[in-house]
Symmetry: D2
Subunit: 295 residues, 4 copies
Amino acid sequence: MELNGVPIDNTFAEGFPIWVSRVIITGVTREWAMTAATEATGFATSAIGCPCEAGIEGFVSADETPDGRPGVSILICASKKKVPEQVMERIAECVLTAATTSVFNGMPDAEEKFDIKIHFFGDKFESKVEVGGRQCWKIPIMEGDYIGEEVFGMVKGVAGGNFFVMADNQMTALMGAKAAADAILDVKGTITSFAGGIVASGSKVGAKNYKFPIPATTNEQYCPTIREKVPDTKVPEGVKSIYELVINGVDEAAVKKAMAAGIKAAVKVPGVSFISAGNYEGKLGPFQFKLAELF
Amino acid sequence: MELNGVPIDNTFAEGFPIWVSRVIITGVTREWAMTAATEATGFATSAIGCPCEAGIEGFVSADETPDGRPGVSILICASKKKVPEQVMERIAECVLTAATTSVFNGMPDAEEKFDIKIHFFGDKFESKVEVGGRQCWKIPIMEGDYIGEEVFGMVKGVAGGNFFVMADNQMTALMGAKAAADAILDVKGTITSFAGGIVASGSKVGAKNYKFPIPATTNEQYCPTIREKVPDTKVPEGVKSIYELVINGVDEAAVKKAMAAGIKAAVKVPGVSFISAGNYEGKLGPFQFKLAELF
Amino acid sequence: MELNGVPIDNTFAEGFPIWVSRVIITGVTREWAMTAATEATGFATSAIGCPCEAGIEGFVSADETPDGRPGVSILICASKKKVPEQVMERIAECVLTAATTSVFNGMPDAEEKFDIKIHFFGDKFESKVEVGGRQCWKIPIMEGDYIGEEVFGMVKGVAGGNFFVMADNQMTALMGAKAAADAILDVKGTITSFAGGIVASGSKVGAKNYKFPIPATTNEQYCPTIREKVPDTKVPEGVKSIYELVINGVDEAAVKKAMAAGIKAAVKVPGVSFISAGNYEGKLGPFQFKLAELF
Amino acid sequence: MELNGVPIDNTFAEGFPIWVSRVIITGVTREWAMTAATEATGFATSAIGCPCEAGIEGFVSADETPDGRPGVSILICASKKKVPEQVMERIAECVLTAATTSVFNGMPDAEEKFDIKIHFFGDKFESKVEVGGRQCWKIPIMEGDYIGEEVFGMVKGVAGGNFFVMADNQMTALMGAKAAADAILDVKGTITSFAGGIVASGSKVGAKNYKFPIPATTNEQYCPTIREKVPDTKVPEGVKSIYELVINGVDEAAVKKAMAAGIKAAVKVPGVSFISAGNYEGKLGPFQFKLAELF
């Protein structure tokens, strides 16, 4: 199929289960909420080398936050065991310490819940307080009082939704990917965890040519500069640059919506020449997102 | 002493040794370099709960980078053993994967050097290349070729330079701290690792009231909302909000310069009423930065 | 009445009729659309000295723009005669010249329409083209082809919706006003035309003390630093700083919604102590927005 | 000649005299200074349809501003008669009304001076005050007191320094131009007045094909999409997109430096294929900036 004149590969993205928790960070202004959210979701691109995968889901207007202040929603994704630990650490180190912030459970209806004991930081000076119907702790700190929830929900979501943006030159592929990342930022329930929402270097599990153990190496099949040296290359003729959008979401529907919005945005960028997606031939992940069925 | 009419406490900030490495990240534009730098220095506020302390030192103009592209300099601070590991992980996960980036050793003259083997990611498709007199590796990736140095310097620097900005209301203290953080961003050789460069919640080692082991709890002596309940409070009368600027630097001179610049900026903000600093009475850290001697 | 514990003055804002046109600017990314929109709405704070009043209404998602690209909506407000001239000039100088932009009529259903002859810029190299059901002109330019509509709608809207944010110190009043401006940015059909959405210096018509003609001078009744010298001061006791939010909108309902959203946001900022509004005792403007009836 | 492998046309940019004034805007933080500066330099791309040409010269650190606060420097360019009027209007409407700002003369040593009577806005509540050795007026306003200088210098500078960035696709040309604009932002004494610092649509004086009077039409010689229809086209074969950087500066040296910095940045962007410049064969402007002599 084609979209805006750009061929869409007849393939699918292969996704995996991952546990996802949503934290709503509010602040005195949107900017201060975003400052904390950015720090809290840093160093969280890929579970291969980072403690988790995390990203900014979007702004939450003051009407929709428990304390009526402007907010930013973040998703933190990892194994079931690691999510509580990472939510704890990232709130404790990056949000409690940030100016004017509060945190709230962004998944109050999730069946799976966990508790982070941040109030111990109060050293018994803390107290319980209700905010917008939520049970919170009020902890005296230097700026005044920190207020936040401690019970959070998590759901079994999807990691690894993805697509590739290709072009015959790097700047076009980059702008296509950037337009896609912007569009995905508007889709609720999803994040792109890499810097700027874009992946410049895809990887394969292990190595083909190095014999010692190594968790991941470059996915040479998608490397345009060595296209001639890789017999089973998947780089289409003429393509000189590829960026990948990797999407985590709270469920399959959200990931599909994000993939569709991202691809629609990318094909609007003049010069984007091909859209494809990455999979393991269906052998590894239970979710298959066929590109042709997204639209 | 007073500065712009604001009393400066007759005290000192107490600093500690820490190992510091500088990584120069370049990109096709300043914005793309900053995108990678922001991700790479996230989740790195405090060594208590984060893998390292890291932050953005500043922009590096194209004239000063090895590849002649616009750059952002970051500092990564940790123990001597942990610095190489963290430089490796943060480059591998957050910069190699980011769009259009290269990395260069920001401390070529440091005696202490270490080597990160990122080129193994190339799975033997990589090759050596010289850029601006630097030995780099060129690794084929999806966007094209990633190019970066792998030998980095590190120096024994200073952690914990600090000062407090106080006011009789929270917004004034916040704006004073923000003005200080902006000013410190201009001082070479230093970073402020917390979100927005500001700390809202200072901590003490361990707990006073909880009996189980806990690494850090709120520093109640500097908590304005419980001033009346804390006999040895250090909150001056009338102060309702305090923010701390915590500064790491490559040496004592840089930290002093950053403290001076930050304090000068803070006292310009109308309503800022007192500047102090945190220490352990000189018992823990070898560096003492007396506020009165900064100017 | 009180809102979040902050007294809301028993008064009203007085508004005036103004003609309003909406221009949708799209770009290859949201950022490039915003770059053009910012230039196009600059030097447009107040009709007293600027050619018009203009501001950014908000983002428009790709789903809602005629060309399926990300957009920014701006409102341009002036007299019925001046609106077409200003829409023409600001598109011709600031948007046609900006990178990757298109413009579309943001009020296709308005009865009042006008035509701007930008296609003459094409010097007969231009041609007609339809985009998303809109009749556009395609003009060859250096970057490629500029595409845009030339017929725009305008409606009789409202200028001068307003409220005051007061506090006993400047930084608190400023942050209260900033939070309000952020909230108003989310309300469709409205803009705040001043820098950052905030007015620091209110004015009265003419002068009291200077005898020569002068269009506007400081509104001394609302100046905290001369409160003691102005017998009919309207500065409440203890108030040391006031910022005004001035809102233009497409109709009364939009202005009311923006006032309500802004005030609700402002009273959430700790230390904001009073909310009022400006009027001419109902003598000049046909619209009266009573604060108490907004909520 | 070539630069980084990109051919640099053997031609020159033709510049014109223009009067230039520099205004230093300071604020409580850098961000608030920038907010005012952005509004004050809006709707000021080209003297053809805007009241002046204006832009942001750069940040001024607190050490270098008269009031010791962070600043942003702007340049306002027009005829000798219009500069004072535009400096007056843009300060009065966009800076005096903006939060926390002060303004200072950025050309204290210029021989040519002018006086703007903003203090009349004070309606005789104003008073004189000295700040950092500068004679200022203090005017009571709603936020507190506005403080600013009223005597400004202006110099006979240069308008129309320029170069073209070309590529075989639009996104590459755009990123090349963006990298150039970023680089020019670092060169003191210069501005790029168009949105984002980039011109997408160059113009020629008058029209060739329309017979009625029209001040400017598209410069068809530099339009890639009609290359085949324009016998005297100057679009090199294969070029599909061109952006222009137009630079105004305080003197010839500054413009040269900006052109050199911009071109060096542009040729670093992969895919940029040609750099040229615009002139009127030396018939109109007294300044000629030969590209080959810039480096």
